[in-house]
Symmetry: C2
Subunit: 100 residues, 2 copies
């Protein structure tokens, strides 16, 4: 590779990270539920998706780790919402990326 090695830029890694979060139709559907319905509880999302509850929790964790959603825990409930700050960041990155 090119002489000196900063393999990938932070931008490239961020785009990959956000893309990875979106790389599964279940997670795309979850984000759409959260951003349109303001639907926010695990139970509600579960009723719209053909997967086990534990699988849903796993997907929520992936989205959360990527920073695209936030979970406000109030046991036994957790209210999930889009993380608007990172959502905006992701949006900007994708716009910049595709705009060529």
């Amino acid at each position: 590779m090119d002489v000196v090695d900063k393999p990938y830029t932070e931008r490239q890694k961020l785009i990959a990270k956000f893309s990875n979060a979106l790389a599964n139709p279940v997670r795309v559907a979850i984000l759409e539920l959260l951003s349109t319905d303001k639907c926010c509880y695990h139970r509600e999302m579960f009723s719209h998706l053909p997967i086990a509850k534990s699988t849903l929790s796993q997907h929520l964790k992936v989205l959360s780790d990527a920073g695209l959603i936030q979970g406000d825990a109030d046991p036994p409930k957790t209210k999930y919402c889009i993380d608007t700050e990172n959502w905006g960041l992701a949006k900007g990155l994708f716009l910049g990326f595709f705009d060529r």
Copy 2:
């Protein structure tokens, strides 16, 4: 899940498919090379990336299968370019998705 089961929409599956193609910094870098430099040969990309040639071919295949690039084979060379039609489609899908 919801009564009748069309698990995921075509739109959701397409977004997931394109996202999956972008879900790795190597592939993000490849797409940037292709879209900025008009750099188009395996050999050129190889010189910019810290991976084995076979690994690069694999990533090119992923991008190609997702429809984001096209390879014009003229053995032993292959000239790679962005697939502008699907690039535009992906752009539109991401814009629509993030615009909420």
